[in-house]
């Protein structure tokens, strides 16, 4: 009987067919990460404060190619001040929105550190590069920034203040995260996907991940 219950819950999950995604925001203090997430979600959505992990999590539901998508956007809660994020921040993320402040060179220079740390934990997930605050000086949109080209990242000129390209970045990030999840290249992700097909519980998945990371 227990087996049957488990099977029916697996079938139920299948029929709901919700694809869960995790997208993280990364970059220096005060580049505008929180304002970008806020602008994408406008009000309507209340953050789930997870104070123990010093992060803010926003859930967003949408549909893509007829498929239900449930995205968790992870925003920092000040931990970026230590120039490094806790490994759990990167854990199982399928895309990253990497932000610098187009009015402050130092935030551009620090992209290197953030990118290095990202790749240490997530070697292959899609990463979208955002130059924020273009409303301050629209002239930046005529300038080239080599970082994105060097690492082959799609680059966006954005303003959280007036909204330019905010929705585009987030939609592109969701699409990229979905295609990554459906065709992962990291070894751990492949293991995870196998398990998901088998219908294992979240707990089992995390257990397995920990093992392979040793």
């Amino acid at each position: 009987l227990k087996y049957q219950d488990e099977m029916s819950s697996v079938i139920k999950n299948k029929s709901e067919d919700v694809e869960k995604l995790k997208i993280i925001c990364l970059g220096d203090s005060a580049v505008g990460k929180s304002k970008l997430v806020e602008r994408f979600l406008v009000d309507g959505y209340k953050p789930q404060q997870q104070s123990t992990y010093a992060l803010t999590l926003f859930n967003y539901e949408t549909k893509l190619n007829g498929k239900k998508i449930s995205v968790d956007f992870w925003d920092t809660a000040g931990q970026e001040r230590f120039s490094s994020m806790h490994p759990s921040y990167y854990h199982q993320a399928q895309a990253c929105i990497l932000v610098f402040d187009a009015t402050r060179k130092v935030t551009y220079k620090n992209l290197n550190n953030w990118y290095k740390e990202l790749r240490q934990y997530r070697p292959n997930i899609p990463c979208l590069l955002v130059a924020n605050k273009i409303d301050v000086d629209l002239g930046v949109t005529k300038r080239t920034f080599a970082f994105g080209t060097k690492h082959n990242l799609p680059q966006y000129f954005v303003s959280a203040a007036n909204g330019t390209n905010v929705v585009k970045v987030f939609r592109d990030a969701i699409k990229a995260a979905l295609s990554y999840k459906q065709n992962p290249t990291d070894f751990v992700d492949q293991v995870l996907q196998e398990l998901e097909h088998l219908g294992n519980t979240e707990e089992d998945l995390i257990h397995i991940t920990c093992k392979t990371e040793e």
Partner: protein, 165 residues
């Protein structure tokens, strides 16, 4: 009664904030002097600004003047109390309330980051389009790829790194 704030300025003696405004019912231009009581060289600027903004007699005018703007006026007055010339006081206040773009905010403590964000919020709010605003659109896409000639940002010139600081 509705008021429209036109200008905000200051008087050194006695230390006061001056607000020029229009009384929208009578269309008369008016000027309000707001003395800042017990203001000293050592007074806490943001607390003094908060108190002034909360003052029931001035509230209806000062709600349209940002906290940062009030702080700037108070800072100018305080600099002169410390002996600076008016010109120096103005430029000191200006730079104290500007975020140095070369500052690595990751290396500052939380209160300094908060202060920097309050200053940046001014610019944000000036340029902000929010739901309800006439020009607000949820999805604004602009393709900058083919907008004329491009030049280097100059931010990739690694040799300049050492000369900067």
């Amino acid at each position: 009664v509705m008021y429209k704030v036109k200008k905000c300025g200051l008087k050194l003696k006695p230390p006061s904030l001056i607000v020029e405004y229009e009384d929208l019912s009578s269309h008369k231009q008016r000027c309000r002097t707001m003395p800042i009581r017990n203001f000293k060289k050592t007074s806490n600027i943001s607390r003094a600004a908060e108190e002034l903004k909360k003052n029931p007699r001035h509230q209806m005018l000062l709600k349209d003047v940002s906290q940062l703007q009030v702080e700037k006026m108070l800072l100018i007055i305080q600099e002169t109390l410390k002996g600076a010339s008016l010109d120096d006081a103005i430029s000191n206040a200006q730079s104290a309330l500007t975020v140095d773009p070369n500052l690595d905010l990751n290396k500052l403590d939380e209160s300094k980051v908060e202060q920097a964000k309050r200053i940046m919020d001014e610019g944000f709010e000036q340029n902000q389009l929010k739901p309800g605003d006439e020009d607000f659109q949820y999805d604004v896409e602009v393709d900058f790829d083919n907008v004329g000639p491009v030049e280097s940002s100059g931010w990739d010139d690694d040799n300049s790194e050492d000369n900067e600081f």
